[in-house]
């Protein structure tokens, strides 16, 4: 069965070597059955190959955060202090550490001598406690504010997605109305919604892109 050894699928895919292709070409000249077989595989592959590519419904564009200018700069690695500043949990932890150090230092500096009388010792403890509480009152709101700001910022970013989904749904409904030709005046609304949607999407890209800078050396 000489015909069985020919790989017509490989031929149609262009996977055969030049010698194998030439051998196939010679064979189909003499064999009607294989010529039909080869033609069918070529048609199958060509039908797939000719499937047109589809344009995405919108362009995908990434934009640097307005005013930041750091993303398109020559370096994408932020210094450690900026990364720390941009991270809510880390900043909160750092603030708590500073607070703990301040209390410890204050306690050590105000250590009561061994010879002090019990009454003096109690008074000193009260003073230390009062000073420590003042430090807590002074530093804690700042640390809380900073952590809260970062958390709010993160939340805003995550809430952009649901808003985007809502607009997307609205856009789809408007486009349906438009296609049916029911209301001409919807054109302007459609443009406005599309513009708003693209702006929102760009904002989401800002937020995502700026919070997810390229990871180095992984």
């Amino acid at each position: 069965m000489e015909c069985a050894r020919f790989d017509w699928k490989g031929y149609a895919l262009g996977e055969l070597s030049a010698a194998e292709t030439a051998e196939c070409d010679r064979h189909v000249h003499a064999c009607e059955r294989c010529r039909v077989e080869m033609g069918r595989w070529q048609t199958t592959v060509a039908s797939l190959r000719n499937l047109p590519q589809v344009e995405p419904p919108r362009r995908i564009v990434f934009v640097p955060e307005p005013g930041a200018g750091s993303i398109s700069g020559s370096s994408n690695e932020d210094p450690w202090w900026r990364r720390m500043w941009n991270s809510g949990p880390q900043l909160g932890f750092a603030s708590a550490s500073v607070l703990a150090l301040a209390i410890l230092a204050h306690g050590l500096m105000a250590r009561v001598p061994a010879a002090l009388a019990p009454a003096q010792s109690a008074q000193m403890e009260a003073l230390i406690h009062e000073a420590a509480m003042k430090e807590v009152d002074r530093l804690l709101p700042q640390a809380m504010d900073a952590a809260l700001n970062r958390a709010m910022d993160q939340r805003l970013r995550t809430e952009l997605r649901p808003a985007l989904a809502g607009l997307k749904q609205q856009l789809a409904q408007e486009e349906q109305l438009h296609a049916a030709g029911l209301e001409q005046k919807r054109d302007a609304d459609l443009k406005a919604i599309r513009y708003a949607f693209e702006r929102l999407e760009q904002r989401l890209n800002y937020a995502t892109l700026s919070s997810a800078r390229p990871q180095g050396g992984e």
Binding site: K9, L48, P52, Q53, V61, P214
Partner: protein
């Protein structure tokens, strides 16, 4: 535009240094192919677009991992493949995918429309693995070795999948293509 003509070997290192404009040029070059590829894996246009966006975002985040700029294309497809697979795994198995959007057959004329629809129908009879392999091989034009790297599967397995997919498709397409060939003969 000069920037658009720039070679990927130039664009990728620039994007790796954080140049968003260079990355946008890469996106504009690949978005149509990536979207079409994802549309054939997950035939809902909205899902395919979301997956495309995620693919490019992941690409930007991980661009420093790409050692060879000339391998950007297959590397991007690998990300798209991983995104699609994890998405399809998350999706409930009982939910039927919506029909593919229309308007993709205009390049063929009337006979072409018929064949294009038949091809889309034939793609549906394949397993997900066969479909992805045949799309990467025939529609996207990758070599078996490149597909093996994209799908993290031996090249011999990919070849076997493509061949069995073509066998299955030929059975579905035969009535349409044979009828067209018969019409041509009559003419």
């Amino acid at each position: 535009m000069i920037l658009r003509e720039a070679d990927e070997r130039d664009l990728v290192p620039r994007a790796q240094k954080g140049d968003v404009e260079a990355f946008n040029v890469l996106v504009s070059r690949w978005e149509k192919r990536i979207y079409s590829y994802l549309l054939r894996l997950s035939p809902d246009a909205g899902e395919a677009f979301d997956l495309s966006q995620e693919t490019f975002l992941k690409a930007f985040q991980n661009l420093k991992r790409l050692d060879a700029p000339e391998r950007f294309g297959p590397w991007l497809y690998r990300i798209a493949h991983n995104e699609a697979i994890s998405f399809l795994r998350r999706r409930r198995p009982e939910s039927d995918p919506p029909e593919q959007s229309t308007g993709r057959s205009t390049a063929f004329g009337m006979a072409g429309v018929e064949i294009s629809l038949a091809v889309q129908q034939a793609l549906k009879v394949l397993t997900a693995e066969q479909r992805e392999s045949v799309v990467l091989k025939v529609c996207e034009g990758f070599k078996f070795e490149e597909i093996a790297a994209i799908l993290d599967t031996p090249a011999s397995t990919i070849k076997s999948r493509v061949y069995s997919a073509l066998e299955a498709m030929r059975g579905v397409l035969a009535p349409v293509t044979d009828a067209r060939d018969a019409r041509r003969t009559e003419e």
